[in-house]
Symmetry: D2
Subunit: 419 residues, 4 copies
């Protein structure tokens, strides 16, 4: 298992680089060149684009600066594979990334090789750890690539889901045991949140600062599919009273009846997994729900969503990240946990919080184009905490702030209530 | 000046009722029956609809409950003039409120008279102050009506603004003197925010609770038109680096170049007032800006928006509400202030904060349909604090939380930076 | 009854002018100033706008040219009340004509008086008949005004229809007797179609020219509501096989189940009339159907729509215009006819033809701005022939070509099949 | 050169089948598997989809009926590759054909082989010519496939055009000589149009019938790029007076400045060809223009579009189809013609006519699902005559009626004026 935080890591940066980069390619095994072209909505990108964009990131932010006379692989790629960095220039429009048949997948693999070799040569010339700015950039690039590893999975899942007739039907998984549904209690406290200086963190997790928490309770485990079925059976998707106003409008416009990827087949609810339709496992955590659904469920149950700081405070007192289920350990879908007490904060499903994604007091974005990485998205999105089965385990840390729009459902997103 | 908080008010509730209701009609003086039909966007409503909806509020939430055998004025009105109370039944679609030629304006006035008389009889039968629930409802109804008084003004301004050729051109106002642009400093503190039990407040302002504030500074006055012109002159509307990502998209889609209602006429910036186009006064507070513009301005200036709690903490240490400019005192447009120190927190312009509108810890919505008043809007909106020239002065209080979507500009909204 | 064709008319042009202009105002009786503000879709316009636009037409095309130093009533009106004449300058956007609270209805009436007096003075100075170009323009203006009289009726019907709760419920009309459903046969022929020089016609009805017609049969009467109910009962709105592809898409998108303004109330189909909801009369001609519905009905019945030339050939051999039902004779809704043989070509309902609206061989548009009257609409629209109960009887002539888009339903449009 | 009309053809049907099928695959040479996935707009389809759909056509309309116990290649393909035949069942939504990464291109090739072998076996068992219905179906299938050969070219051109940065720049072609710009005159006549029984034709070309033509003149050659540049230089795209109303709206909304695929590069107009950007050849016929542009050009020039019958009458008196330029002879883009007199009616560019696509008198659609082939599209589209460089030469015949919406530009469409 890879640990790329400077403080505790035993592998060299160069070794880490190649591990992360190889992992990305491993994730695409089983996908055809045609699959890797798919873009099913503007929010998602083709696998091929992810492969190229993560490569461009190293070219743009490291090679073009630290390598003298760096030979750019193809000058068009800055236009094609820049995601959203306004300060780096014009970009190919995001909604039509699926129209990039050219460059071919093979050319993108060649591009990866070209850049990996250049990074390799750079590591020979200049031990990466010795230049703090370079190593910081490289580590950001690896975290960036891990984020895109997750998007490769969630995006291809969404894309293949559009092609309903080509999906196999699967038998049910063993359900596992029921999770601990109790709530743990926390007294009021003036606590400190955010990332400290040791270990990797994004700018938006800093600075570490104090917040006051009133007394609260937090569920020991995420909500399960079985509990979600009870919500559905009680008319949860049909009673405006549980819903935020914007959420209710969306629920009606889109005729939401169940989480994304749930299909009612032959009298039974199934969910789409990476391998086909499988009967819903009542003990596994519910996932692919929007913030609005998470919030409505809580109101229906008489509970509420936690703030991101309540979550962070709870997580610091709970089970370690290593206990969750991860794709890198062969768990490509959330699974039931069987322990007692606060658990399953990491892996399986991201957990929606009630906190709008915003700046911490004293927040300073990174300098230059990388300042666009987080800060400019601080409106209209909500914070999710933890990490899902699709997340790289090395990204897990209590202070990590993931963020999505409240209507989005294609991430492995679930809910852990507070009260 | 009316003070309708139970604690300090000298007028009876019945007297207050008639004062507020009459004030609403006074605001419509100068508008023709045709003007009062106008609806220029789904966010806004016709004056006539406001007149009827505020009346329906008293009928629905008071008369139908406290008056035995209450004779409803017209049973269709529950369908036509319910705004958004899902639990009260089906509603006329909001975007086509402008198609309600029937009932006529005169019928709506008759409706108001019918309800006012019924409230009058109720007050005779049952001294309003003696039934705590009734008096609480009535006071909510009056605050509700005051909120709609403000919307009558902002909505008709927007509607008449669409008819550009029928607007007169006006000479400039006397500019007044320049406001105090200094910042006041506040030390870190664990403070208490929100409404206490004395005086009126909405459910969303409660419960009073503790928050920790890091040291911060707050501008003594709102940003002026002159400062905004400097932002424009420096390319503020054309440089993505100042903007949140969603805001930049909107800015480009809508080709924003200036605040709403600003027009460049004969080589000079004018703004639309209630009486026509007037040259922009550089010393008056800028208004009709969106959250995105407020935020971009602050980033351009090296500052930031305050949180709503920073604002509340500062306001409690500043000038009293009575110092601002209000329509009810003849000030229908924001004006320059000339004092020193923290000032102009109330009146003139609402002030955008960086705080997403969300529930306070322990928030409990009101019971029944009135629980829909605030709680269900707690997503995607930002808190504005203070009050504008279009707000009733009796609504001013430090804990008041107004909220709008970050793209909205038709309120009298401005900005007071922090750093 | 007014006949404004130069050849046969006994009233002077000046008398005709005032008859037509007064008729327009008569049509607005019963409408409130608020009703006259309504615009319920971009295709329709407020009554007040029609009152002003028809007036502007005389000001723009006659007074500004034939009256020296003509004093324009208000220079803004050219912007506000130009409908679609690109060559006359910029225009107020059509979709927001409903936002013109100013000028007021009273000002528009004053505008009408101002222009009527100017035309009156012009008639004194220069007998209108003596200037051929002037008299031609004036007659066009009167026909233009009669067209807008029809639109006043169809547009206000559509607008008031949006306000469903304010409509009374009416008892059924006496059904009348069933119309003659036989077909009349016509042999193949080389015939001449279009308008001759005598009498008024629009440029698009000319030049008169020859067309060859194969043998055909034409229904003696329009399709009735009773026949339409049979189509509905047989699943006509649910079987793609009857429909044109574009029509089927629309039918599904809009969930068409019946003609426009039909509502199923208390187990029975009602239609909205100018006075409220009335049970559908099975013997009256069906109306408020789109071209797509007319076409689908014919295919379902094994018939087809006639071409406009088949219709014109048949109409010339049928009953006279005077036999139909017209609003000006108190018939504000289509009625059953009881005669035998080819009948009811005029009045009651417009009849969709299979002919796309296009130029006749040798078509020459009028010179100047009036050349925009017809020619520029010759794409994507279909020809309707005859005239409806809402049409002025003086507009009836065999060569008249009305035209609308195939999806439009708010005119009094019906269908007479061929085979 | 293949001639598949039963009357004159020397190859057996079975030979013709394999010629046409092979030609389809030949057209895809040079395209990668990724290119063949692309769908750039709902009007267009991926190459892979065309390959499968044309195969499905033979499976659905021939094999499933004439082969006992025919083993369907994959039952899902009826859902995936049915284009628009409502009577054959539900279909994959047209706008997301580009999301069909599965089946793979290789599976589609296997599907083609499977069906081709089944047709081969059928031909052995039952000489195809001996069953008139079977041979008729097969010939329709071949014409259908030829139509899709053209769409393969026009659709992939559109798709690759979206990826602007991956296009090479090419030197100009030799211009060739200027075409004959004279007009030929035709006297008035009662003529017969439409397809006779000999040779292949679609149902919409029949029955043959009489039409009367007034005297007219027809241009000897299509309009050239040079003439189009003159139209552009004279402000053709900026003067509403030349345009139909719907066309003018579109022209402004889309900011049309030139034909589709024209780009102004380095001070010179280029057009995109299958190989990259090439300077516009002033002598070649203009192509990729909409009906609206064709019509506006004619009005600017003082001319008009011909009716489809004028065109057909002229074409019958002009050069033979063999004289045009065709992709199958290596001409992948329209070229200048150098002869005198009426010419170039076939090949190079389709020619817009003023005729709305509608039914001929006595039109009877084919029975069954194939009745959906043409008839249901008879609204809102205009007839184009002739054939383009992308059309198979075997499809050329005077009576052929191609049809597209007036705004569509991605076909090789040009214009030959009349007057």
């Amino acid at each position: 298992m890879l640990d790329i935080s400077p403080a505790t890591c035993t592998a060299t940066l160069s070794e880490q680089y190649h591990q992360v980069r190889n992992r990305t390619l491993e994730l695409t095994q089983g996908l055809s060149v045609e699959d890797m072209m798919l873009q099913s909505m503007p929010d998602a990108s083709p696998t091929k684009w992810h492969l190229a964009h993560t490569t461009w990131f190293f070219e743009q932010f490291i090679l073009s600066r630290w390598v003298n006379h760096y030979r750019c692989f193809d000058p068009n790629f800055n236009f094609l594979f820049n995601s959203y960095y306004e300060s780096v220039g014009e970009r190919h429009p995001r909604p039509i990334r699926g129209l990039l048949s050219r460059p071919s997948h093979q050319q993108v693999l060649d591009y990866r090789t070209h850049v990996d070799r250049a990074i390799g040569r750079l590591a020979v010339d200049l031990p990466l750890e010795e230049d703090p700015e370079l190593s910081e950039r490289l580590i950001i690039g690896l975290h960036h690539e891990m984020q895109h590893q997750e998007l490769i999975l969630t995006d291809i899942k969404h894309a293949l889901a559009q092609n309903t007739v080509m999906q196999p039907r699967l038998p049910p998984d063993p359900p596992g045991s029921q999770a601990d549904r109790k709530f743990s209690t926390f007294s009021e406290t003036l606590t400190t949140v955010g990332a400290d200086e040791a270990g990797f963190s994004y700018d938006c997790e800093r600075p570490r600062h104090r917040v006051f928490l009133e007394r609260f309770e937090l569920r020991n485990s995420p909500i399960s599919n079985g509990e979600w079925l009870a919500f559905m059976a009680d008319g949860g998707y049909h009673q405006s009273g549980h819903w935020l106003s914007d959420g209710w409008d969306l629920c009606q416009q889109n005729a939401w009846q169940a989480p994304l990827y749930w299909h009612h087949l032959d009298g039974e609810w199934h969910e789409l997994t990476f391998w086909g339709y499988r009967p819903v496992n009542p003990h596994a955590p519910v996932c692919h729900i929007s913030f609005y659904e998470a919030d409505a469920f809580c109101r229906w149950a008489g509970w509420r969503l936690p703030t991101e700081f309540e979550w962070e405070y709870g997580a610091a007192r709970a089970s370690a990240p290593s206990q969750g289920h991860y794709a890198e350990s062969g768990h490509w879908h959330p699974k039931a946990a069987s322990g007692k007490g606060l658990q399953q904060f990491y892996g399986d499903v991201w957990e929606w919080t009630s906190s709008a994604y915003c700046a911490y007091p004293g927040f300073t974005p990174a300098q230059g184009a990388l300042g666009e990485y987080n800060g400019k998205f601080m409106a209209n999105q909500f914070v999710l905490r933890g990490g899902s089965c699709a997340t790289a385990r090395d990204q897990m840390r209590p202070s990590y702030r993931n963020f999505f729009y409240p209507h989005q459902r294609w991430q492995f997103s679930g809910v852990r209530p507070a009260r």
